[in-house]
Symmetry: C3
Amino acid sequence: MSTYRTLRREDSHGVAVIHFNNPPINLVDRALLVDLIALTKALEADQDIRVVIFRSDHPDFFLAHYDLAGEVGGKPRPLPEGMASPLSTLLTRISRLPQVTIGELQGRARGAGSEFLLALDMRFASRERGLLGQPEAAVGLLPGAGGTVRLAQLLGRARALEVCLGCHDFDAELAERYGWINRALPDAELPAFVDALARRIAGFPASSITHVKAVVNKVTEPDPQALIEESQRFVGNMYSDETLKRVAWMVEQTNKSGSTMEMNMGPLLDRYPAEI
Amino acid sequence: MSTYRTLRREDSHGVAVIHFNNPPINLVDRALLVDLIALTKALEADQDIRVVIFRSDHPDFFLAHYDLAGEVGGKPRPLPEGMASPLSTLLTRISRLPQVTIGELQGRARGAGSEFLLALDMRFASRERGLLGQPEAAVGLLPGAGGTVRLAQLLGRARALEVCLGCHDFDAELAERYGWINRALPDAELPAFVDALARRIAGFPASSITHVKAVVNKVTEPDPQALIEESQRFVGNMYSDETLKRVAWMVEQTNKSGSTMEMNMGPLLDRYPAEI
Amino acid sequence: MSTYRTLRREDSHGVAVIHFNNPPINLVDRALLVDLIALTKALEADQDIRVVIFRSDHPDFFLAHYDLAGEVGGKPRPLPEGMASPLSTLLTRISRLPQVTIGELQGRARGAGSEFLLALDMRFASRERGLLGQPEAAVGLLPGAGGTVRLAQLLGRARALEVCLGCHDFDAELAERYGWINRALPDAELPAFVDALARRIAGFPASSITHVKAVVNKVTEPDPQALIEESQRFVGNMYSDETLKRVAWMVEQTNKSGSTMEMNMGPLLDRYPAEI
């Protein structure tokens, strides 16, 4: 357990609870990705754990978003033709875990944070504090780790286009109406609800999970070609002048204003190139 | 008409109303299946009836669930490779009837009862009394008569997994939000609403039904391979020790406690192996 | 701009606003189709406009429906085998425009008016005044310009069958619950909401629109064979005796009663052959 730097794992009665803890805002950065890869590998080989809950130790951020700061001024890393990006591939692996995976959203999950949730089996959010967003289009990109594809499948064409192009923050109630999450629940009830659901499923025979996930996956498996195209478009556009300029602005606002930009990214995204 | 033992059929103005009446709880048992097969055959050849309503004479049960009692201690009946189960095949036939089929849910529809509703063209439920559940995972199985596949198509991956793995009872309001039913309606208005819709459609030219169903079916037809895999997994796991033990427990609780287990199956499913 | 007879176009900051204005009820007639074709061609070649809003100058009608009056007594125009109808093909072209297209629904959109909205990228409706309907089945037809296919994809099998076979008027609130529109908004807020969303998207880099639409389209593209079958069934049945008689009745009621039939088409459709 102590091998993780950005998360904490607690196992009990067939349920593993993963607490994200990557201060200051649970950024999806290199350290967190290293941990997620190790966790995924461990879960793939785990025969005892049947259900995995993902929650956050941070009251305001589940997973803030992907750490784009490293890309500004960084060297472009081209993606081989015909391949999905490493992050997209990791999320596909997570979506195929033998366990049932449940996301518990209290706080913000934007960009790759939302895409991580979309790769899980179920998602429940705090009615008062859950917030989802895909801000990629504001910098010339698209959700590139499976998010565009999974949103299109789950929400349908019109709502997926609104989410991915409008880049607004969605509260839990609206996210439920759109199908982005299973359900919005009162903040005070959410952890107990998720714990009870996880323990209940872990108490049923293991074969159920195998059977149900196999058939549901067969019906809802994302088109691998669409995932590849999504990745290729993301990486292919990541190092364009326009995108790098917009990303630099976002990074600068984030650094300068402390948490204002991170807390209210949705409403502020269209202020470019103003100082926040 | 008098050939049916578990249901009653009334035809009027192009609408057939089927009343389920298989005391004590409208179990999907051998007698009811014999009647459903005969009814399906009759409807397939019927040129006069354009709309079929399914409702229940029992205030608490639309169709309780499949009669698993017969499987405990019974001889395993293997399913030939590459085939869907007889029940799954029957529900596929029902989903392809030339008539418009409407389910009116007052009371409980669990397991095969819910899967029957999912094979119909439309489903409306009583806001106060409608209750849906897929309890199969609690005994190591999955909805095996098309339910897993149709729920995955209709509700999307996350909600279908929650329904099939959590095994909770869903009231009509939540079932509507998830897309399991068309709509939840006040109990007092439900029969009149369904009757009016049926009569209205039956008064439109017959060609409409043929055209609309053909095109909607073409777009939403379940993958036959997924239906086969679902059946194979169900039957292949039905006679495992774990499943037979759990089914035996359920049957015992049902017999012993009278209606407690049947009335409140959702909340009680995770009590195994306790006495209810 | 002055080339259009039934609509008005205003461009500003990368957003084109199209106002439908085809008195008395914004019928989808020959004049409007000529304009829509010209507009589509212009937008396909337009590199400056990124977002297109469609709204109506008429308080009660967005687009009433297709002008069927011309078909009564007219000469049947057969559709070559293996082809979608001209209107269906036009709506497919509109769904593939390089711009983001947003429908703002205040008033009625029935038949081809609803199908037009379904071909757009997003649809927002007035909670108080938005009304959608597919009345085709009442005259023996089906929505034939992509509506049956797109409704089946977006709403799922059961709700699409209810919409297409029941032929009821759906208010905005119910249309939102069914997924027919993105969202119902208070009438007073709707235009400002749509304008703000359009301007926001138009202020993001153009590459975002290309990337997001390409991937979402890849995932949600309607099956071309289903669109063809839909058209073929529509045109193949259009000139049957039963349909021509019913259409003649509708046209007559519309002419005679002034706006009663057009205002309340949903509830009145099952009165055939009565005088309204």
